[in-house]
Amino acid sequence: MVITTRKKRVDELARADMETSLVAGAWRRLRRIPVFFVGVTIMAGFVLVALSAPWLAPHDPTAALLLDQVSKARNTIPAPQPGYPLGGDDQGRDLLSRLLIGSRQTLLVGVLATLIGFAGGLVLGTVAGALASWVDTVIMRVVDAMLSIPSLLLAVSIAALFAHPSQLTVILAVAVVQIPIFARLLRGSMLAQRVSDHVLAAQALGVRPSAVVFRHMLPNALSPVIVLATIVLATSIIDAAALSFLGLGNPDDTVPEWGQMLARAQDVFDTHPELAFWPASCIIVVALGFTLCGESLRDALDPKNRR
């Protein structure tokens, strides 16, 4: 009886410790970082545009509405004109509509790649950090081997495994590269949790090992991982663009995606750099938004900055 109430007490302590010193403390510090709000605004704007793109887009992004203004011989593409503020692409499709609709796939690539990388890293990192025996050694050696290949090279190798590239293969390739990074970080913070006082207290009170891992260690080990996730989201979008550039992207351009639009614009870059400029600007702004958020979160969660 006494022991159960004590167990409850430890649980409450763990939760209270998290809520007051981590979340609330982080928020108190975040409010003082103006850059954080710039990042959040960009992120929110991006998600909002992606969600409402079908209503925002003035035209069908796949219809060659301005085809008569495209001339391969004279090397012209539709210029900006009434109703088409950014002009058309080299297929005569409205550029603005393609950018707006493209935000959806770009968001999907970023979010899915991050989620898959996070989930894979979560499993590997938790197992390695929680068991810390020969399992840890084996997992970390595999992670080291994966990290010994430069990330883009690894992504490209994985993308090449698929005979028919598609949006899904791009997402998978970009995601797998993130797994060892998440795994390593999570293992590190799990190991730090293992020897922390509240975990030792829980163990001493006879809390079940699985409860120790999932209720006491994992929640407290997650904060650096969340920071990493925001930054990984930005790099996934950029890496996906690089895959498209190397010819391993989604060949189907009826579903526009910014990285793919940027990669496709390379052929006409010398004559029409604006075709690359717009999707590139979108990618840069969004990547910047997520990076700013991640960096401010990192600063706010950093124990060194706690006062």
Binding site: L153, L161, I238, A242, I283
Partner: protein, 335 residues
């Protein structure tokens, strides 16, 4: 120190062995596999069978793996089947390696030469205009896709302004080859026009490639200097009346350089990945270009060698970085 080095080399060998197995499996999982890559999609079944047994692909997998390891150890990785057909991939590698070394050395030099001083000054004048501007600059250079930056530089300086060449390593000029490093060759043979010409070809790719490492080096330097300059030993140095220059050099910079050194080493991977993109944009005939082309043309033997070499180089650089700790920080030497 020696024991540490040996242990690290042992670990590296293990990781390499694991990696070779991964690459081997990867190669066998690739769509089509080496036979259809060699013969094309429309090969007759007999031809495919003959080649399969010639290549030993009908043997059990572990036999194939051991054979692959043995021939790889003797430096035989086969001939290129796409990028430079028929030429041994080791030769393709040796021809292109100097180009990438020249490019990456230029890029990392540029990144260090700009990143460290800027990071130092920004930290010393924290919150100032220069600090703010360089932080914005460093954030943008990470957010910008490398190949877009490369295209942009090429468009502005090569196409519009025409002040720098837009592709290749050197114009078709009469230059003597000694080492394969074009800049070094020019210096050795005192052909200064060849040196200048190679350097002109290096400027734009090097800037594009330097963007990411610059940003990281700048930010780590800035953070490290901020950390160090409030330490007690810096205050002690100030209070015992040492001059600003001595404090900067001996107390602040030296202690701040430890994380920076690691970072520079870790940039090797980013550089190699960046080289794949940059070299492709500028048609710069290096390893990165060969990798990009190899993937497009499914040149398996070439990819196998290049990825393995990339991993070796990457790990070797990180070993050197870890060893260099001892030189910067005497405390590490003991451990």
């Amino acid at each position: 120190m020696l024991r540490y080095t040996l242990r690290r080399l042992g670990q590296m060998t293990l990781v390499l062995l694991a990696l070779s197995l991964l690459i081997f499996v990867w190669l066998h999982a690739l769509p089509g596999g080496p036979v259809s890559a060699l013969l094309g999609e429309r090969a007759t079944p007999e031809a495919a069978r003959t080649l399969t047994s010639q290549l030993g692909l009908d043997q059990p997998l572990y036999v194939q793996y051991v054979r692959f390891l043995l021939s790889a150890l003797s430096g035989n990785f086969g001939a290129s089947i796409g990028v430079q057909p028929g030429i041994p991939v080791t030769q393709v590698f040796l021809e292109r390696f100097p180009a990438t070394v020249e490019l990456t050395v230029c890029a990392i030099t540029l990144a260090v030469a700009v990143g460290i001083p800027l990071g130092y000054v920004a930290a010393r004048r924290r919150g100032g205009l220069l600090d703010t501007l360089s932080i914005i600059g460093s954030l943008i250079s990470v957010a910008i896709p490398v190949f877009f930056l490369a295209f942009l530089l090429k468009y502005v300086f090569a196409v519009k302004l025409g002040v720098l060449p837009n592709s290749g390593r050197q114009d078709a000029i009469d230059a003597t080859r000694v080492t394969g490093f074009f800049v070094l060759d020019g210096i050795l043979t005192q052909e200064w026009d060849a040196v200048l010409n190679s350097l002109e070809h290096l400027v734009l790719p090097a800037i594009a490639l330097a963007a990411v490492p610059f940003s990281v080096i700048f930010r780590i330097t800035r953070a490290a200097v901020l950390d160090v300059q409030d330490e007690n030993y810096v205050r002690t140095a100030e209070s015992k009346g040492l001059t600003g220059a001595v404090i900067s050099r001996r107390h602040v910079l030296r202690n701040a350089m430890l994380p920076v050194a690691t970072t520079i080493g870790l940039q090797a991977g980013a550089l190699l990945a960046g080289a794949v993109l940059t070299e492709r944009v500028f048609n710069f005939p290096g390893i990165g270009d060969a990798l990009a082309l190899g993937f497009q043309q499914r040149d398996y033997p070439l990819l196998e060698l290049l990825i393995l070499v990339a991993a070796v180089v990457y790990m070797a650089i990180n070993l050197v970085v870890d060893l260099s700790y001892g030189m910067i920080d005497p405390r590490v030497r003991a451990g």
